[in-house]
């Protein structure tokens, strides 16, 4: 078989369209089409200055404030105090770096501000077929559009700033096919948690994941973003879904997307990115969509995920000693005990937000559960972008959250990264739509249970983890 006729996967096509040169040692130089930077990128800008260099392509670089943006008191001057001064310093630093190098900048009060991984796609800056990077591991989110998107560290951010390129080694390819139909009430988050639990927290290290199968095709772009977002939680730097009609319908008409004939020409190229039918993968995993239940995490890594009707595992019954040690430690940290039904875990707070689950569809799903109900615990809702916030307010979703007793905040990473002052207190337990349940992730000593927006809303109403489907039944009864 000649090289020309070898069947190609989606990733093969993305790779081939970005490789500029190959080094003898096997590294390839690839072109970066979009580079998002945020407040945490300051180390990289310092490196650029230290070397006396400049930003090669400010036109392809976009600075958006998200990690340190306060969610409260927006639209008014920031109150004094040391904590706010720190946040202001981080945001001002990003603005100053953007200004110095001529980079477009959406600061806290810009109408297009929001979490980079929500803003990029919603503005049509991220497009199918592009290579997208950011100094943030959840950059994999953009892969939902058929973009090759991955997170990088500060040195690589600096490299992209200075050259608009990166050195990459071709990763192995894993296809996760989710076939069949999801049961009612099951969302992309349940799929994502199921995939992570199945692969393990390092199960996809060194791989890109292409998500395929009828259940993935049936997802909206927003659902695909949730799925691709959590690829890094199983170790894959990058998750992908092949562009299709759903993708084109999402991209069409967005502010930075090609318009008119240019869109049609681009669309034909985007559809052609889909992998050839006989493309070969290094690994294949098949998941039955019908078997996916509402899923929650009980432990301290996203792989510690189980169906809501399960119980906290018993380390004494595990044959793998290392895993048993982790389970023991996680149960201790989380303040649980073996054999306890997950649905008996009482919570102190809820959080709805983050690049995983704060798009309009997510807010609608949570609001549908909360409408006409009260939350038994306090909580915060932080929309994924300022545009999502305006849309939600237009639909009256903000009223539903506030009537339920939750706080409606501004957009940012908020209590997912817990860098902007939105934190839990030590020992507090939170049902959260975010992506990481690591020790201390939502504040020192915090305890996080990951789940879908509908499941967080249901947990708010019940004051404990609960199957959202049982709540719906109660309401009818």
């Amino acid at each position: 078989m000649t090289a020309e006729s070898k069947p190609q996967s989606l990733f093969d096509k993305l790779w081939n369209s970005h490789v500029i040169a190959e080094r003898e040692d096997g590294a390839s130089l690839v072109w970066v089409d979009r580079h998002y930077v945020q407040e945490g990128s300051f180390h990289a800008f310092n490196k650029v200055r230290e070397r006396g260099e400049t930003v090669a392509r400010p036109d392809l670089t976009v600075a958006i404030a998200d990690h340190y943006v306060p969610t409260r008191g927006r639209g008014q001057p920031m109150a004094g105090g040391a904590a706010n001064a720190e946040l202001a310093r981080m945001m001002d630093q990003l603005g100053a770096n953007a200004a110095q190098f001529g980079i477009r900048h959406y600061g806290m009060d810009h109408p297009w501000q929001g979490i980079c991984h929500v803003v990029g796609p919603e503005l049509g800056m991220t497009l199918p077929g592009l290579l997208v990077v950011e100094g943030d591991s959840h950059t994999s989110t953009h892969g939902a559009l058929g973009a090759w998107a991955f997170g990088v560290g500060a040195s690589e951010v600096a490299h992209v700033l200075m050259t608009q390129t990166l050195w990459q080694k071709r990763p192995r390819q894993l296809r996760v096919s989710i076939e069949g139909t999801l049961a009612p009430g099951i969302s992309a988050k349940d799929m994502a948690l199921t995939v992570v639990a199945r692969l393990g927290a390092d199960g996809a290290v060194g791989h890109v994941i292409e998500y395929a199968g009828s259940a993935v095709r049936a997802l909206s772009i927003e659902g695909r973003m949730t799925l691709c977002n959590m690829s890094i939680e199983s170790g894959a730097r990058c998750g992908l879904v092949a562009p299709d009609q759903v993708t084109l319908d999402y991209v069409r008409g967005r502010p930075f997307a090609p318009q008119g004939d240019a869109f049609d020409r681009a669309a034909a190229q985007w559809l052609a990115l889909a992998g050839d039918a006989d493309a070969v993968f290094d690994r294949e995993v098949l998941i039955d969509a019908a078997g996916i239940a509402p899923t929650v995490t009980w432990g301290t890594t996203p792989e510690d995920a189980l169906a809501i009707d399960a119980t906290v595992p018993d380390p004494d019954r595990l044959s793998d000693a290392t895993r048993a040690g982790h389970v023991r430690d996680a149960i201790d940290y989380m303040g649980l005990h073996s054999g306890m039904p997950l649905s008996e875990i009482a919570i102190d707070r809820v959080f709805i937000g983050s690049c995983t689950n704060a798009r309009i569809e997510d807010l609608r799903a949570a609001a549908a559960v909360l409408a006409g109900r009260r939350s038994k615990v306090p909580g915060l809702v932080s929309p994924g972008s300022t545009l999502v916030q305006r849309q939600a307010e237009k639909e009256g979703l903000d009223r539903i959250f506030m009537d339920a007793g939750l706080e409606w905040g501004g957009s940012g990473c908020s209590m997912c990264a817990a860098m902007n002052g939105d934190t839990l207190q030590a020992g507090q337990r939170c049902a959260s739509t975010t992506n990481r349940n690591f020790k201390g992730r939502q504040g020192l000593g915090s305890r996080t249970h990951l789940m879908s927006p509908a499941m967080v809303a249901a947990a708010a109403v019940a004051g404990r983890l609960v199957d959202v489907r049982s709540l719906a039944v109660e309401a009818v009864a």
Partner: protein
């Protein structure tokens, strides 16, 4: 970047899985500038090293006086998973760590490590258990040799794996930027063709 060929020191065993970068460097310290001479060293494993009252936990192996000055950390699988924060690598490097030995590391962590002269050495899981047991008493002199890709401790030798591209960079202390700048003509050529192939890839002003 400091080259790495052969380094000897005490190795500290942290026999846990999934030590994510939030544990290596908690988020609240990321606002800090990396000011010499200490840099991010004081924040390394901050919340694992300390009890709830803030005092150093003697049970945490890096607090063992015998492991003082350790240049190597040995851990179980998936070290450095999670957040892409390179500050986690800065904390390790600023504390004098030159190599993290584990059955697997987070992909982004590994790339960040190599960009800072820190070796992500991969040892087979069963071998790793033997190595961790050897290092468990603390204060065990260890040698990491990047030319032969071996770790030697207490008279035993363990092979490790590392991406050949990364090995070469670490051995030579090469900086990618200088290499990339030497490819400027190829980049310019490629861009000319790409403008025709993917006119839609530009970002409107």
């Amino acid at each position: 970047m400091e080259a790495f060929v052969r380094v000897s020191s005490v190795a500290c065993a942290l026999p846990q899985i999934n030590i994510d970068t939030d544990q290596v460097l908690p988020a609240r310290f990321m606002k800090q500038p990396r000011t010499p001479p200490l840099g991010y060293a004081p924040y390394l494993f901050h919340d694992l090293r300390r009890g709830s009252d803030g005092s150093l936990d003697p049970a945490f192996a890096l607090n063992d006086p015998g492991n003082s000055g350790a240049k190597f950390i040995a851990a179980r699988r998936n070290f450095g998973s999670g957040s892409s924060r390179e500050a986690a690598v800065y904390a390790l490097v600023d504390a004098g760590i030159r190599c993290v030995i584990a059955p697997s590391h987070g992909d982004i962590f590994s790339a960040n490590a190599v960009n800072n002269g820190l070796v992500p050495a991969r040892v087979d899981e069963a071998e790793m258990e033997t190595l961790l047991a050897l290092l468990a008493p603390g204060g065990i002199q260890t040698e990491v040799d990047l030319e032969t890709c071996t770790v030697s401790a207490a008279g035993k030798v363990f092979g490790f794996q590392i991406d050949p591209v990364w090995r070469l960079r670490l051995l030579n202390g090469w900086d990618d930027i200088d290499i990339t700048h030497s490819f400027r003509p190829q980049i310019a050529d490629w861009l000319q063709g790409d403008g025709l192939r993917r006119p839609w890839a530009q970002l409107a002003a």
